[in-house]
């Protein structure tokens, strides 16, 4: 019981039960039925998918001390798995879970070389991985059939009749799953072990925590969920090709979202992803300078508020007293 009490202090929780959360989910789920504008769908869809990936990147970078620069590997592999399965005659939804599984298996495979590296070396090792996969998929044609588009691209078969609302619901489901998964992991033995490792891995190891295994678990879980989000993105896009599937753009977006919002905070990726998706559409008209501005924001945030928006907010007294106020009012 004592441990439980301590945790409430170290991990600030917004109490008030699940009611407001469920209300938000229901409203979001009803959007396609009410019939909101088409553009909103795209905003929300990308928001859900990026948030899922950012959550998983946060699990690795913010809570496990693994600066993994290879989310594109998981996205691309899962996307290709799903696409290839549609070419083998299976329906598109049959490929979602296998996509995640392939990404998770791949994470286990690359953990053999990259987990021998620590800190910044780990970052370099993982940066090479998507580049390798890009070359593999430029050379290798998993299934036959005519080429579509540039490079070794494939269209995802049988998704032309998939309505936008179906993809939207899939994305909503995975984002909710990822948020609950984060909450669950951080309060489980795994999460507390990870926090101990992040703070000091030799101390954690001498306390009997299996450092290697815990890091591997979080890496594989992150790969699985990122992969699933990737398959849903490619169901929406209906087309996959190596250069973009394993491109650096995934990493830029996910990293930006997590860092702006606050790495190592649960609500950080949510705030960060809202800003990133907003920026994405705000800057769409100025495509050529959009990435320059994103780069400047990344540098500026890192120098001025290295903990991100939520991390910096947490430090201020107003936010803390607001939280206390909310907590006490709910108790009464």
């Amino acid at each position: 019981m004592a441990v439980r009490e301590n945790m409430k202090i170290t991990i600030p929780q917004l109490r008030g039960g699940l009611a407001p959360f469920i209300a938000v989910i229901v409203v979001l789920a009803l959007f396609p039925i009410i019939g909101v504008p088409r553009a909103w769908f795209l905003y929300l869809l990308l928001f859900f998918l990026y948030l899922t990936m950012a959550n998983m990147w946060n699990l690795l970078a913010g809570y496990s001390g693994l600066i993994s620069l290879c989310p594109a590997a998981f996205v691309g592999l899962a996307g290709y798995t799903m696409t290839v399965m549609t070419w083998l005659g299976l329906p598109y939804y049959a490929g979602i879970i296998p996509g995640g599984i392939v990404a998770a298996l791949f994470a286990m495979l690359i953990s053999i070389p990259v987990f021998r590296l620590k800190g910044i070396y780990f970052a370099i090792g993982t940066l090479v991985v998507p580049e390798i996969l890009k070359f593999v998929f430029l050379l290798w044609k998993p299934v036959g059939g005519p080429l579509d588009g540039k490079g070794r691209g494939y269209t995802v078969l049988g998704v032309t009749e998939v309505s936008h609302s179906q993809v939207y619901w899939f994305a909503l489901a995975i984002v909710i799953a990822s948020i609950f998964l984060m909450r669950y992991i951080l309060r489980s033995k795994l999460g507390r072990g990870l926090a101990a490792i992040r703070d000091n891995d030799s101390t954690a190891a001498s306390c009997g925590i299996n450092v290697f295994n815990l890091k591997l678990y979080s890496f594989v879980i992150a790969a699985f969920v990122t992969g699933i989000a990737g398959t849903i993105f490619y169901i929406y896009q209906g087309f996959i090709e190596p250069a973009s599937a394993f491109g650096i753009q995934w990493l830029i977006t996910i990293m930006l979202a997590t860092i702006i919002g606050g790495e190592g905070t649960e609500e950080g990726p949510i705030v960060g992803t809202i800003i990133v998706v907003f920026l994405y559409f705000l800057l769409a008209r100025y495509a050529e300078i959009s990435l320059i501005i994103q780069g400047i924001i990344l540098v500026a945030i890192m120098l001025l508020a290295p903990q991100g928006i939520m991390g910096s907010l947490r430090k201020t007294r107003t936010y803390r007293s607001l939280l206390q106020l909310a907590a006490s009012s709910l108790k009464e």
Binding site: R116, L127, E131, F135, E288, I292, M302, L303
Partner: protein
Amino acid sequence: MTILADLSMPLVMGILLGGLYAVIALGLSLVFGVVKEINIAHGDLVILGSYFGYVAMTIIGIDPILSLIIGGPLLFGFGFVIQKYLLNRAFKISMDATLIIAFGISIILQNTYQLIWTPFPRGLTTSYALKSFSAGPIRFPLVYLLNFIVAIVVMLFLREFLRRTYLGIAIRAAAQDRKAAHLMGINTDRVYSFTFAIAVAMAAIAGVFLGLTFPFTPISGLPFLIIALGVIVLGGLGSIAGTFVGGIAFGLAQTLGGYFFGVAAQMLVAYVMVLAVLAVIPRGIFGR
């Protein structure tokens, strides 16, 4: 005998190509060895050198190699400013911060090139860029030999600089023990800024020779960064001799991979070799 004769071509090409890779990786290796930061923007700074050579050649009309007389100091200053105003501050926040800021700089540079020079591939096509020379039965492009010579010259110059000058000794002291160097009256922040500036000036040299050898686009920085990372990881991070050996190993893996598995697979072979070496000896060939 015929196999040997066939193999001599990729072998020699690989070693010569390794020279170019070593020059590209040298700046990255220096910054890593001294400042202990991975400069993710290094590839893009190399490409900045290539574009400077391009501008000098097409607009001013001077030879790209000669343009280094202006380009070198200019990029030296640019590097000094980046380290002084951005990375030195990030360094005090955390290791991750330097990585992420360098990543931000990389994004900014890439897209600025795209804005100024369009995404079309460019090349430094000088009169000598296409010349070749024969050694025995095979012919080699002249620039490859030039790259190799430049690699040796730059490497020896850097080595002597680090050994003999005051700044060089200060850099080595800061690399060995930042705190102790600071206590001995070395302004480590300044030393770091100079180190980074030297690395960027070397990136300018690498960029010009890269431009003479291969066509480049605004996004060529990333592949060459990954090659450079592979090279220094192979050779052992932060060692000059290691960087040179790593460069040659990478060049050989690429050309021999191309010889045995086809040109399309050559980079794949080289990358897989880097990961395999990492799995067996995580600290590289010359690693400490």
